[in-house]
C-alpha cells in the first residue's frame, strides 16, 4: 500500500461531501427529504430514506408501473490511459477486453486470496476512458486498490462527488423518460449507455439501460447539482403513468426477487464471487488470458472437491415465518450446513424467500432444509433464484 500518497488521496476523496449533524453524507436530494419529513437512516455512511410511503407500495409500483430511486451514494471512478481497458482487465475478474464502446459489463474485483472486494459495473466509453461504479461503502477501498496496482499506465480519478444517480425503473420507465429527452432510447440496448445526453433540459447526462430491480429501466448519471431538478421533472412527467418515489427498502426486496447479489450480504472478502453466486462474472483458464489479483486462488477454488466448496442458492420457507441474514441453515438431519445471506418477505410473491450460502454437497435443488428462525426450526426448500422468470 502506497501509504504516503494513499493518505493524501483518501483525504481528498473523502473531503468533498456535505454531511449532516451526525457526519452522514448527503445526497443531492437531502434537503428535499428533510422538507418532506421522510425518515432518514445511516446507509454505509450516507443519510438516506428506507421508504417514502411503504416498501410494499414502492415495490409493487416498480413491478407494475414506474418508480424513481436516488442512488447518488454509488461511487464513480474514471480511469484514463493509452489502454485503460486493458489496465482494468488486469484487476477485475470478468473478461472485459472485448466489449464495445458504450457497452457496460458486470464484474467482481477480488483480492489476492480471491475474496470479493466489490461487485461493480464497468462502463467503456472508449479504449482510453472507462468508468467504474463501485458500491457506496466500497468506493474508497476500490480507488485505493486501483492506485496500488497502477504503475503509471493510467490516471485514476474519483468522481463520486460529481455525479448524482437517478434510477427510473419499471415497465413504464422508458415511456416516462421519453417525455423529458430527445435521446433515442430504443437505440440503447440492455447494458449499454450513451454519454452527454440532454435530459429534462440538463446537458451532460449519461443514460444507461441498467438497473437493480429486475425490471426494464434506466440509470441516469447526472451532474450532482442538477439531480434534484431532473428528479422533479421526471416526477411531473410520470404523473399519468402513476410514478412513485422509491427508496432503499424496496430496492432490497426488488433485487432479492430478481436474484441479484448484495455486497456485504452475499459477497464479501470472506465470500468469493464463485461461491457468492456470481461465478458467471469470474473468468479463469481459457476464458481469460490476462492475470488479475485472485485469479489463481479462484482457479484453485473451482478445482476443489464439492465437499470443500460452498455455493449460493435460493430458498423458500414452507413453514411460517421470515428468514433473515445470519440465520443458520440445517439439513433435514439437523446438521448445520450454512447460513442465510439474504432474506425477506417477498412483496410480489408473498413468500419468505432469499439466498443461502451452504455446503455444496447439501445443495441440490428441491432438497428440504431447515432454517433456524430464532427459537424455531422452520422447514424450507432449496430453489433457483429465478422467481421473476417463472
Amino acid at each position: 500500500m502506497n501509504t504516503r500518497n494513499g493518505v493524501n488521496i483518501l483525504m481528498a476523496v473523502i473531503g468533498e461531501f456535505k454531511t449532516d449533524e451526525n457526519g452522514l453524507r448527503k445526497t443531492p436530494l437531502y434537503d428535499y427529504y428533510v422538507e418532506k419529513g421522510v425518515n432518514l437512516t445511516d446507509f454505509n455512511g450516507w443519510s438516506l430514506p428506507i421508504q417514502f410511503t411503504s416498501i410494499k407500495e414502492e415495490h409493487d409500483a416498480t413491478r407494475e408501473a414506474v418508480t424513481l430511486f436516488d442512488t447518488s451514494h454509488m461511487g464513480e471512478i474514471r480511469v484514463k490511459g493509452d489502454d485503460a481497458l486493458a489496465f482494468l482487465n488486469g484487476v477485475v475478474s470478468n473478461n472485459v477486453l472485448n466489449i464495445d464502446d458504450n457497452q457496460a459489463i458486470y464484474t467482481a474485483v477480488t483480492n489476492d486470496e480471491g475474496g470479493t472486494l466489490d461487485d461493480l459495473i464497468i462502463f467503456k466509453e472508449n479504449q482510453q476512458e472507462v468508468v467504474l461504479t463501485p458500491n457506496s461503502g466500497n468506493f474508497e477501498k476500490i480507488y485505493s486498490w486501483l492506485q496500488d496496482h497502477n504503475n503509471g499506465e493510467v490516471e485514476i480519478d474519483d468522481e463520486t462527488s460529481q455525479w448524482g444517480l437517478i434510477a427510473i425503473q419499471g415497465p413504464k420507465a422508458q415511456e416516462v423518460l421519453a417525455k423529458v429527452t430527445e435521446t433515442d432510447l430504443d437505440s440503447i440496448k440492455g447494458y449499454h449507455f450513451l454519454q452527454d445526453q440532454t435530459v429534462a433540459g440538463v446537458d451532460g447526462v449519461v443514460v444507461s439501460r441498467t438497473g437493480y430491480t429486475g425490471e426494464d429501466g434506466f440509470e441516469l448519471y447526472t451532474p450532482w447539482g442538477e439531480t434534484q431538478n431532473i428528479w422533479n421533472k421526471l416526477l411531473e412527467a410520470g404523473k399519468d403513468a402513476g410514478i412513485v418515489e422509491a427508496a432503499l427498502g424496496a430496492r432490497d426486496t426488488l433485487r432479492t426477487e430478481g436474484g441479484m447479489a448484495l455486497y456485504g450480504n452475499d459477497l464479501s472478502e470472506e465470500i468469493n464471487p464463485v461461491e457468492g453466486g456470481i461465478g458467471f462474472a469470474v473468468k479463469t483458464g481459457d476464458k481469460k488470458e490476462a492475470d488479475y489479483p485472485g485469479k489463481q486462488s479462484l482457479t484453485d477454488y473451482k478445482a476443489r472437491e464439492d465437499a470443500d466448496k460452498r455455493v449460493s442458492r435460493g430458498f423458500e420457507l414452507t413453514g411460517k415465518g421470515i428468514a433473515r441474514p445470519g440465520f443458520k441453515v440445517l439439513n433435514k438431519d439437523g446438521e448445520e450446513i450454512g447460513e442465510v445471506t439474504t432474506g425477506t418477505q417477498s412483496p410480489t410473491f408473498g413468500t419468505a424467500l432469499g439466498y443461502i450460502l451452504i455446503d455444496k454437497e447439501e445443495a441440490a435443488f428441491g432438497d428440504e432444509i431447515l432454517i433456524q428462525v430464532r427459537k424455531r426450526q422452520v422447514p424450507a426448500v432449496i430453489v433457483k433464484k429465478d422467481w421473476l422468470r417463472r
Binding site: 416498501i55 427498502g249 415465518g321 421470515i322 418477505q345 412483496p347 419468505a352
Partner: protein, 125 residues
C-alpha cells in the same frame, strides 16, 4: 375496541386492556408507525404460561423484527388467529382487530409497573 385513554401501556409500546382477571394485549399506533407494513406476527400457544417481561413472540415488518414481551404474568387464554393470514390488520386497527393475545391472570392484575396514557404520551415524546 380498546379505549386508548383507558388502557395501560408498556415502554415496549404495547397496550394492555384489563377486563377483570383477563388482560388483552396489542401494540400501539406509535409502534405501528415506526414498524411500517407488518408482514408477520409470531404468537405463543394457548395455555403457555408467561412471566412478566418474558418474551412471547415477535412482530415483523419487511425490514425489521421486534420482540414482544408479556406485560404481566399470566396464562395465554386466547391468541388472535386472524393475524396469521392478515398481518396487515395490525397496521389498520392496532387497538381493535389487531390485538395479539389475552392472558388469564391469577388474582388482581398488577398494573404498578405499567404506564397510563399520559405517561405513555410523555414517554414517546
Amino acid at each position: 375496541m380498546a379505549d386508548k385513554q383507558n388502557v395501560f401501556y408498556t415502554e415496549d409500546h404495547e397496550w394492555v386492556e384489563v377486563n377483570g382477571s383477563t388482560v388483552r394485549v396489542g401494540i400501539t399506533d406509535y409502534a405501528v408507525e415506526q414498524l411500517g407494513d407488518v408482514v408477520y406476527v409470531e404468537l405463543p400457544d394457548v395455555d403457555d404460561e408467561l412471566e412478566a417481561e418474558e418474551e412471547f413472540g415477535s412482530v415483523e415488518s419487511v425490514k425489521s423484527v421486534s420482540e414482544l414481551y408479556a406485560p404481566v404474568a399470566g396464562t395465554v387464554s386466547a391468541t388472535n388467529e386472524d393475524l396469521e393470514d392478515a398481518p396487515e390488520t395490525v397496521n389498520e386497527d392496532p387497538f381493535g382487530k389487531g390485538w395479539f393475545l389475552e392472558l388469564a391472570v391469577e388474582g388482581d392484575v398488577d398494573t404498578s409497573s405499567l404506564l397510563d396514557r399520559a405517561a405513555y404520551e410523555e414517554f414517546i415524546g
